[in-house]
C-alpha cells in the first residue's frame, strides 16, 4: 500500500505542478481573445462593447493569485468557464462532447497497436533472424520514425481522396443520430477506421521493438530453458513464460508512450477532422480560446496521469515480486 500511496502523492503533486504550468501559459500568450473573435467575425466594435464581451467571457482583471485560486477551484468543480470559440457553451461541455471520441480513438489505437506490436515483437524475438523478424523488425523501425502527419496525409490522400474508400471527416455519418444501433456503430467504425489505423501505425513500431528487445533479453534466462526442459510446448514457453515476463518492461514503456499517443491523436484528429479533444486544442490555440486551452491541457494532463497510474497498477498486478505476501 505504501507504494500506491507514494505513487498517488507523486501524481497529486505532479498534477498541481502541471496545473500551475497550464495556468501560466495562456496568460503569457500574446493577443486578446475578444479581439481575435471579433476580427474573425469581421466587425468593427466599440471599446465598450468589447469590454462588455470580455466580461462575459470571464476575463476579469483580478490579481493573478486570485485568478489562480479561482482556476484551481475550477478543477474540482469541473467549471472551466465559457468557451470563446463555442460561446456560449461552457468549456466543460465542449470537452465532454469531444472526450468520448478521443477516448475511442486512442483506446482503439492503443489496443490494436499494443497487441499487434507486442505479438509481433514476441514472434520476431522468438524467431529472431528468421522471416518474421527480418520483415517485421525493420518495418517497425521505419514506422517508428514516421511522423503521424505523414501517415495521416498519405492515408487521406490514397484512401479518401484518390479512391473514396473512407470518409475524409466526421466521427460518424452526420445524417445519423447517436444511438445504440448497429447502423450507428457501423458508421462510427467506418469513420474511425482511418484515424485509428493511422494512430496504430504510428505506435505499433515502438511496441514491437520494445517487446522484441525485452524478449531477446529474456531468451538467455535459465527459467526458459527449464520450461522447455520440462516438456512444455513451444507456444506455452513463448507466451506463458517468456512473453509474460518480457511484458513487464513493456508495460513501463507503455506509460512512456502515452505522450506519443496523445500527440499522435492530436494530429490525426486535425487531419481527419475528427471531433476529439486534440482537434479542439488545435482550434483553441489558433483561436486563442484561453478557457478552452486551459481546460484542455488540464484534462490531457489528468488523462496522462491516470494512464500512468493505471500502468503502475498493472505493473504491480503483473509482478508478484512487488507484492510481498
Amino acid at each position: 500500500m505504501r507504494f500506491l500511496l507514494k505513487r498517488l502523492s507523486f501524481y497529486a503533486v505532479a498534477f498541481l505542478v502541471a496545473a500551475t504550468f497550464n495556468f501560466m501559459i495562456p496568460r503569457l500568450l500574446p493577443g486578446n481573445p475578444a479581439d481575435i473573435m471579433l476580427a474573425n467575425s469581421g466587425g468593427m466594435i466599440a471599446p465598450e462593447a468589447r469590454d462588455a464581451l470580455m466580461a462575459t467571457f470571464g476575463f476579469i482583471d483580478a490579481p493573478l493569485h486570485e485568478q489562480y485560486f479561482a482556476y484551481l477551484g475550477s478543477i474540482f468543480t469541473w467549471d472551466f468557464g465559457l468557451s470563446i470559440k463555442f460561446y456560449p457553451m461552457p468549456v466543460a461541455d465542449v470537452l465532454t462532447q469531444a472526450l468520448p471520441w478521443t477516448l475511442f480513438l486512442t483506446g482503439a489505437a492503443l489496443l490494436i497497436a499494443f497487441s499487434t506490436g507486442t505479438l509481433l515483437g514476441i514472434l520476431a524475438a522468438w524467431r529472431r533472424g528468421q522471416l518474421t523478424d527480418v520483415i517485421a523488425s525493420p518495418t517497425a523501425l521505419a514506422l517508428q520514425s514516421v511522423p503521424a502527419v505523414v501517415v495521416a496525409l498519405c492515408g487521406l490522400y490514397f484512401l479518401s481522396v484518390r479512391n473514396r474508400v473512407f470518409p475524409t471527416s466526421y466521427a460518424y455519418d452526420p445524417k445519423l443520430d447517436p444511438a445504440f444501433s448497429w447502423e450507428f456503430a457501423a458508421s462510427v467504425a467506418y469513420h474511425g477506421f482511418l484515424p485509428v489505423v493511422t494512430l496504430s501505425v504510428v505506435l505499433v513500431g515502438g511496441y514491437l521493438i520494445t517487446m522484441r528487445n525485452n524478449m531477446i533479453g529474456q531468451l538467455g534466462e535459465d527459467y526458459l530453458a527449464m520450461a522447455e526442459a520440462k516438456g512444455l510446448s513451444d507456444a506455452r514457453v513463448r507466451y506463458a513464460y517468456a512473453a509474460r515476463n518480457a511484458l513487464l518492461p513493456s508495460v513501463t514503456a507503455l506509460a512512456l508512450s502515452f505522450g506519443a499517443l496523445f500527440g499522435g491523436s492530436l494530429i490525426t484528429e486535425v487531419v481527419f477532422n475528427y471531433p476529439g479533444v486534440g482537434n479542439l486544442l488545435y482550434l483553441g490555440i489558433v483561436g486563442r480560446d484561453f478557457p478552452l486551452i486551459q481546460g484542455q491541457l488540464l484534462i490531457m494532463t489528468l488523462a496522462m496521469l491516470l494512464a500512468n497510474l493505471a500502468v503502475d497498477l498493472a505493473y504491480v498486478f503483473l509482478d508478484p515480486r512487488l507484492k510481498r505476501a
Binding site: P30, D35, D51, P88, P174
Partner: protein, 529 residues
Amino acid sequence: EETVLSALPEQVTAWVENFNPFNQTTTAPSVLHFMYEPLIIFNALDGGKPVYRLATGHDYSEDLSSITVTLREGVEWSDGEAFDADDVVTSFELALGNPALDSVGMAQMLSGVEKIDAQTVRFNLSTPSSQAMYQIVRVPIVPDHIWSKIDDPVTFTNPDPVGSGPLTEIRRFTPQEYIQCRNDNYWDAESLHVDCMRFPQIANNDQALAAASNGELDWMGSFLPDIENTYVAKDPEHHSYWLPGGSLVAFYMNFEAPEEGDRAAFNNVDFRRAVSMAFDREAMVEIAGYGYPTINQYPSGLGRAFHSWNNPEVDEKFGAFTQYDLDGARALLAEAGFKDIDGDGFVETPEGAQIDLEVIVPNGWTDWVNSCQIAVEGLNAVGIRANVSTPESAVWTEKLINGDYDMAINSVRVGATPFNQYLDSLHESNQAKSRFAASRYYNAELSGLLDAFTQTSDTEKQMAIMSDVQEIVGADMPLVTVFNNPRWYQYNTKRFTGFFNADNPVANPVVHKTNPARLLHLLALRPVE
C-alpha cells in the same frame, strides 16, 4: 416532396446550438436574414438601392438628424403573433442597453428610437449622417413578446427561436449537421421555394472541396484551389462559381514608422509610388490568389465594383504608378534622391538613413503571405531592402493599431458605395483607432470631403465629392492597393436554379452571414422541375 438546399456558409469544427442573432461569433450562420428578416437590404450590386423587407420605406429628416421608417403591415412572427413597431423598438433597446450585444455600434450612432405608431418608428441620430441607415439595418429585429422577458439577453442562446424570416424551424440539430425549415407564417411565402436548408459541418478547405466536388453542396462560399479542375470539371454542367470583388486589399505604410529611415521614406510620395510600381499585382492575383481576386490598379484604389464612381482624370494622371514597372520604380527612386550610399545593394534615404522594411502579414493567411513574398521580391529588385515577417494574427492586429510596424498587408471592407472604404482607412478621426486606419495618414482636406459626403443624400453631389476624394488619394497614394478580395461563392444547379452569377448579377451572391442580400438570393432559387 420537400426541397432541401445544402449550404456551406462557413467552416467550423462543430455547430453550436446558439440562435441569438445579436451574438456575432458563434451564432448559427443561418440565424441572421434567414430567421430574422432585416428591415431593408441595400443592394451594393445595384448601386446600393434599398430592397424593402420588414420596412416599406425610410425617410431622412431634412437635417439628416433622424430617420423615419415605416413598417410592413400584415407580417407575423413564426408563432403567429403580429409584427409591429414595438418589436423594432425592443430590438434597438436591447442593442443600446447591452454593450455586449451592440456589435454594430448603435450606441454611438443613435440617441434614441421612438415608436411613432404601430407601423412607424423614428431613429434619432447622435450626429447627422446620410449613411446611418446602412448601419441601422444590420441590427436584427426580434419579437418583443419573447425578448422583453429574457433576463440576460447576452448569454441567452434562444433555444426555440421565433423569427420573421423564411426559415425559422430547427428541424434537427447536431454538432455535425443542422436543418432549418420553412416558417409557416412567412409573409413573403410565395417567393420562397426552398423548404429547408441543410448545413453540414465542414472544418477546412480540403473537406469543403471534397464535399463540393462530390456534388453534396448546392450553395457555398469556400476557397477552392484550382477551381476549374477540382470543382467545375467534376460536373461541368452543374458546378459553377462567380467571384465578384469584395474587400479592398492594400499594403499599408506606417507614416509614423519606428525607424527614422523607413519613416522618412514612407513620407515621400515618390517612394510610395516606387513601392507601388515594384508590385507585381498580376502575380499576386494569379499565383498567390489563384486568379480569384480582382486586380485593383485604380490609383485611387476605387476597385472595379465601383467603376461607375470612377474619375478618369485620376487614372490618366497617376495610372502609371500602379503599373508593374521595375525600371520606372528605380528611376523614380533615383530621381527622388534615394541612392545606395553604402554599397550594400539597397538604397538609403536622401538624408542617408537606412531603409529596412519589415512587411507583416498574419501567420496562416497563406494567400497574403505569398502576396507579401511577391511584393518583397519586387521591392528587393528595385533596391529597397525588405523582408516578410508572419506574426500571429492577433499580434499583427495589435501592431497595426499601435503603429508598431513598417509595412503591412491589410484589408478594408467595402460598403454599398466607395465611401466606406475611404472612411474606414483614411479619415483622420479614425487614424490609429482601428487596424483599417493604421497608416497614420492625416489629411484634413480628405476628411472634410468625406464628412461632406455624409451631409448630403443628393447623388450628384456625392459623385462630385467622390471625384475629389479620388483626386487626393490618387495624387498622395497613402495606401498601395493591390487587389480586391474575391467574394467566395460556388453553386451547383443540379437541384436548384436561379443562382446569381455574372450573367445574372442581381445582388451579392455570397451565403456568408455578413451578406444580407443572401436572403434575396434564397428567394430567387427554384427547385429543378
